[in-house]
Every structure is written in structure tokens, then in C-alpha cells.
Amino acid sequence: MPTDRNLTRQEVSTYATCLLEAARAEDAVFEVGTQLQNALLIVRANMRLRDALKEPSIPSAKRIEVLEDVFGNCDAALVEVLHVMVERDDIQLLSRVCEEYGVLSEQDLNAVIVDVTSAVALDDHLREVLTTKLSEDFGSDILLREYVDPSILGGIIMSTHGERIDASMTSQLEHARGVLSTELSGGDR
């Protein structure tokens, strides 16, 4: 389907701005951002859900029903925006809306949002250390979006603005495995 890039950009911007204004009214800009991020991960990870939301042959009322079932617990403004996106067959723009919302919300909150994944929940001390260090690096206030993933075994993964610092135990072990399996000592040759 031919698309006009400028039009698409404007659509994305409209969705993100509307959502931000609604979230601001509820004083939940950061929380809605987190929910939007999670919604995107859910849609991406479930091919059947993604196809169902995109399929034009399914009546939009049915698609909205599916949406309600999955995201009914989310913020009302977010659910409303998702409704409109599904109705207008724009759900494929979700990732761009999410990105645009991230940019707008950082401007609104005057802070940088950093995703932090750790094996166990962060304690106050570690949270403080991270915030101070990141604040120095970015020259701005920091908001941490915390995730707990025991599969990383230990350490921490931080990501923001498409950049990622992976100091998890699994990646360190993987790196060590790579080095040990490829490095040669003199006798191997």
C-alpha cells in the first residue's frame, strides 16, 4: 500500500501528543510510557495477537474486543488511543508512537528515562548510585524504568535512546566462553 511519509509522521505525532496530554492530565506521564512500552513488547511477541489486530477482514468491533481483553487493565487513555489505532488500521505504527511518546515525555518531564534490568530488584542505595552516575553522564535528571529478569544471573543492563550497556553476568560469561574457545596458546598451533 503506498504511503505518504509526511502524513504517517503527522499521524504518529498526533497519537503520541494526544496520549501525552491525556497522561499529563492524570499526572501519569511516566507510568503511561511504561505501559505503552509493555504493550509494544506484548504485541511484538505474540504473532497471533499482532495479526488479529492488523487483519482488515476481522470487524473492528471484534478487534477492539480482543484489545480490551489484553490491555483492559492499562491506563484508560492508553486503551482509548489503542482503540483508535486499531479502528483506523494503524496498529503497525505502535512502535513509532512508542518512540515518539518517549521523546515527548522526556521533554515534558525534563528527564532522561533509562531502562534498567537487574536479576533482583534494585535497593534504594543502588538506585541512588545509578541515578547519580547517569545524571552526571547525561547532565539531566534521570528516571529509572526498572525490570527484574533473573535469567541475567547478576549484574545490570541499562538502555536508553537505542544505546545499551550490558554488564550482566550472562553476557560476561558468554564473552568468556567466546574468548576461551577461540584464543590459542602456543602449543595449539
Binding site: 512502535s95 513509532r96 535469567s151 537505542g162 545499551r164 550497556i165 553476557s171 574468548v179 576461551l180 596458546s185
Partner: protein
């Protein structure tokens, strides 16, 4: 063998762990939005470069590499080079800042590797001298010099009439089962002792066929100077796509470096390399598959628009370097398979126009017993003539025209029975010379023997022989020359031309042999 003790193991482990860096760096990361058919669509990675190597990390920590292909406004399309099934939606993708590289070095010689340079011949790990990018800029005009040295294929029909020079790109084209691979294999076998590193790239072939070729190389001692890069029909399309470029990169190492592994220069000459791409039609098909799954717009025969550029940039890497750059060379012999002799199809016309000549193989000739089934009428070599040795030019200079005249005459003579004496003689000579060009598989002929054979034909030594005795005559003549008059062949090699003395000696020797040759049957 050194004794293995607990302390030695401990020492080795410590040494290896020393090289373990624990620093953490910031990397650009994207997320897989969709994956299927070996193609991934990635969200993020705004800084990814076209052709950049991407690292996909699966949920269980497994790492798979991919190639960034489509850089779009909001996503990146990439092809996966490894275990496709390990990667799922939402997996992370990292840029590496590198383009695809393959190991290169002397250790690869004699080995069978996949397009990523990993050994597949169960002969242990390969310790490469370094890595080379699969996509590499072809040398410019100033860095080159004209082709002037021959690549002897050992095939009489080719070396005499369609000579190939070091640094040339000569296409081998024909239908299936016409002997395209045989020419390539014979050429590699003939490079023994000629300071040539050969790279045979098998693309989209059956693994059993590749195994057969490797066995042939081993049987004839050709693996000692050959690298086999195999992307079989079972390999993913992206691997088949990069295979010729990877083979070329492995060959370039020898051309750009001297014997000591240091960069080639006037003092440190580069080596000569022969690359065979068997075949580029299958690579084009693999690239078409990749492009269609990447949703690139299809063009003629559904191939993508840049298929010409794909082949031209690969074949442009064939080069004869200037003396200042070490005078190394990379000769490319791409193979194209035609369908029902249709050379006007998209890929054959593209590659014909890129290369410096083509060797056409015809099914009809093959089944008439004319093997190699080279159609000398439409096969050409645009630059190889300057690489031919003078002796060959002296004897084979008019051979192509003579054979063309013979074929024309033969076509006319079918309509009438009364022919004058001169015409009968010309027809007879043509039939004998055509018979003389027949050659068995894996039996390459040294250049001096080729010169002697054609000289004998030109001198009319074959004219009074029945056509079915020509090959026996040639074999026995060459045997006679090797055992009784070896100095004549040596003289031809030494002078690289036929002097008056050599001509006289050759005439006399042929005369003597002719008198003792008895026609059988």
C-alpha cells in the same frame, strides 16, 4: 609430544583468561520486530550501515550474525547468516561496526570451508593470518597493469584459440551437463607447479557433487594449492549469496600479500590467484530469494535491480596489479548455466557483458563427442591474446579462421557431391583439426605439447590419416617427442617461440615419427 600436567593446564588457562577483557561498552541496540524466511525486520539501529554485520542475541544468550540490507526510515531489514530458528521476536540486535569478514591466510589452502571460513572437512581448526572483508573495493586504474601472462588451462581448444590471461575474467557458459565444471577442474589441476593459488567456490550445488570435486582435486594433488568454498544447496540463501565474495576475499589475501605474509610491493611480489565461481546463476537465484523476502521491488525475471552491480563489483575484483603493487593477479572464471541454450536471458547477458570473453559450451557438440564441447565460433577472449606465448600465436594464429572456413564449407558441401580437390583437402584438414582439439578429462596438456600438436596439424601430418586415428597419432607423437626428442619441447618452453631451427627440428621429428606410425583397423 609434550607431557600434560595439572600445572601446564593451569598455566594455559591463566594465559587464556589474561586475554579476557571485562570492560563494558555502550552499544547501539535494536529489537527484532518480525522474523521469518531467514529475514529479520529490526526496530531501532538508526546508526546501522548498509551491509554491516549485526549480532542477534537470542533469549537464551545464543548469538547469531546477520547482514543489514534494507535501511528504512523506521526499521532495518537484515538477513540471518546462522541458526535462524534461535532468534525470535523481541530479541535484541547489536551493531558491530564491521562488515562481514572471513578468515584469510595460508592455513586455508588445502581446506574445504563454508562461506564464513569455517572448516567443513574435519581436518581441525584453521589458524588464519587475518580477516578480510567479503566486500572489498576493486583496485583502480592506476593500481593495475594490462594482462600479459597466460593462465594455461591445459586444454588445447582453449589455450590455442580462447587464451586466458592472469587477471582476466573469462566466462564459462553452457547448458547443464556440457562440461562447464570439467573445464574449471581441469584448469585447476593444470596449475600444479605454476605458482598459482586456486579458489573453487561451489554455490548451490549438491554436497555430493562438491565432495566429488574435492576428491578429484585430492587424487590429482591439486588440493595442495586449492581452497574450496562450499555453499551447498542445503545452505541458507544469504550464505550462497556471500560465497563468491568470500572466496574472492580469501584469494585476494594472496594477491595483496607476498610469500612472507607482508603487503605486496615491488620488492615483495604478490601471488597469482585463480578464482572459479561455480556458478553465478545460482548465486543470482539466492540473491533474488533474499531480495524478494526483503520486499525489494522485483525487476526482470523477478531479479532485483542491483543484480548487475552485484556481479560487476565481484568480477571487477579480478585484476592484474602493477609492478609497484607486487604484480600479483586474480583471474576469475565465473560459470553460468543457461536454460536450453538461451544466452539472451537476464543473468547470462549481464555476465557476458561484464566479462572479458566467454567460452561457450554446446550440448550438440558434447553429444557428437566433441569434448570439451567448446563452440570455437562464438567463444572469444578479449584480452587473452596478449597473454599467449609467441609459439602458440605462431601455430594457432589462423586456427580459428581456418575452422570457421571449414564449418562454412562443410555446411555447403552437404548439398552437392562434386567437390574440387582443394575443397576436399580443406574439408579433410578441418575434420582432422577438429578431431585434434578433442581432449579427455583430467588430462591437461603442457603448452609445448599443445604447440607440437597444432604444428603437426598445420604441417599436414594428419591430412592422410583417417579421422579416427588422429587422437592416437597425437598421443603417440607426443610420447615420441617426450622420450626421443625432449630437447625440442624444452627449447619451445625456453624461447617461448618457434625459431627457424626449432621449426626444422620439429618438422624432421614429425617426419620420422610419421614414417613409423602405422594406421590401425
Amino acid at each position: 609430544m609434550a607431557e600434560i600436567t595439572a600445572s601446564s593446564i593451569d598455566e594455559v588457562l591463566r594465559k587464556q583468561l589474561d586475554s579476557l577483557e571485562t570492560s563494558v561498552e555502550s552499544r547501539e541496540v535494536g529489537t527484532v520486530i518480525q522474523i521469518g524466511d531467514g529475514i529479520a525486520r529490526i526496530d531501532g539501529l538508526r546508526g546501522a550501515m548498509a551491509g554491516e554485520l549485526l549480532e542477534f542475541i537470542s533469549q537464551d544468550g545464543k548469538s547469531v550474525f546477520g547482514l543489514a540490507q534494507n535501511l528504512e526510515e523506521d526499521e532495518v531489514g537484515a538477513v540471518l547468516l546462522g541458526e535462524v530458528t534461535a532468534i525470535k521476536e523481541n530479541d535484541k540486535v547489536r551493531t558491530t561496526g564491521r562488515i562481514v569478514e572471513v578468515p584469510a591466510g595460508k592455513d586455508l589452502v588445502g581446506r574445504v570451508v563454508n562461506p564464513l571460513g569455517m572448516p567443513i572437512d574435519a581436518k581441525g581448526p584453521i589458524h588464519s593470518d587475518g580477516m578480510r572483508p567479503v566486500e572489498f573495493r576493486a583496485p583502480g586504474v592506476i593500481e593495475r597493469k594490462p594482462v600479459h601472462q597466460p593462465v594455461q588451462t591445459g586444454l588445447l581448444a582453449i589455450d590455442s584459440m580462447i587464451p586466458i590471461g592472469r587477471g582476466q575474467r573469462e566466462l564459462i557458459i553452457g547448458d547443464r551437463q556440457t562440461g562447464k565444471t570439467s573445464i574449471a577442474v581441469d584448469t585447476i589441476i593444470n596449475q600444479k607447479g605454476k605458482d598459482m593459488i586456486c579458489v573453487y567456490v561451489a554455490i548451490g550445488q549438491k554436497a555430493s557433487t562438491v565432495a566429488g570435486v574435492v576428491e578429484t582435486f585430492e587424487k590429482h594433488g591439486a588440493m595442495a594449492y586449492t581452497i574450496v568454498v562450499a555453499a551447498t544447496a542445503a545452505d541458507a540463501a544469504p550464505l550462497q549469496y556471500i560465497a563468491p565474495m568470500a572466496g574472492c576475499a580469501m584469494g585476494e589475501y594472496f594477491m595483496y600479500n607476498g610469500e612472507d605474509g607482508q603487503p605486496a610491493s615491488a620488492e615483495n611480489p604478490g601471488r597469482h590467484v585463480l578464482c572459479i565461481y561455480d556458478d553465478l546463476s545460482k548465486q543470482a537465484v539466492a540473491y533474488r530469494q533474499m531480495s524478494l523476502t526483503l520486499r525489494r521491488p522485483p525487476g526482470r525475471e523477478a531479479f532485483p535491480g542491483d543484480i548487475f552491480y552485484l556481479h560487476s563489483r565481484l568480477l571487477e575484483r579480478a585484476v592484474k596489479l602493477s609492478d609497484k603493487n607486487g604484480a600479483g593477479s586474480l583471474t576469475a572464471l565465473p560459470i553460468i548455466e543457461t536454460q536450453e541454450g538461451d544466452v539472451a536471458a537476464y543473468i547470462p547477458t549481464n555476465v557476458i557483458s561484464i566479462t572479458d570473453g566467454q567460452i561457450f559450451l554446446q550440448t550438440d557438440l558434447f553429444f557428437q563427442g566433441q569434448r570439451p564441447a567448446v563452440d570455437v565460433g562464438i567463444s572469444v577472449s578479449r584480452v587473452g591474446g596478449s597473454a599467449q606465448i609467441k609459439a602458440m600465436k605462431q601455430v594457432a594464429g589462423s586456427l580459428r579462421l581456418d575452422l570457421a572456413a571449414y564449418r562454412e564449407l562443410q555446411a555447403f558441401s552437404q548439398f552437392g557431391s562434386d567437390l574440387d580437390k582443394a575443397t576436399v583437402a580443406q574439408l579433410n584438414r578441418g575434420a582432422c583439426m577438429t578431431e585434434l582439439l578433442k581432449q579427455g578429462r583430467y588430462a591437461p596438456m603442457p603448452v609445448e605439447e599443445q604447440v607440437i600438436s597444432i604444428f603437426a596439424g598445420n604441417e599436414g601430418a594428419l591430412d592422410d590419416l583417417p579421422v579416427d586415428q588422429v587422437l592416437r597419432f597425437r598421443a603417440e607423437l607426443l610420447q615420441y617427442m617426450r622420450s626421443v626428442k625432449p630437447e625440442i619441447g624444452q627449447q619451445i618452453v625456453k624461447d617461448a617461440k618457434i625459431t627457424d631451427e626449432t621449426r626444422d627440428a620439429l618438422r624432421a621429428a614429425i617426419e620420422v615419427f610419421k614414417n613409423q606410425f602405422s594406421v590401425e583397423g
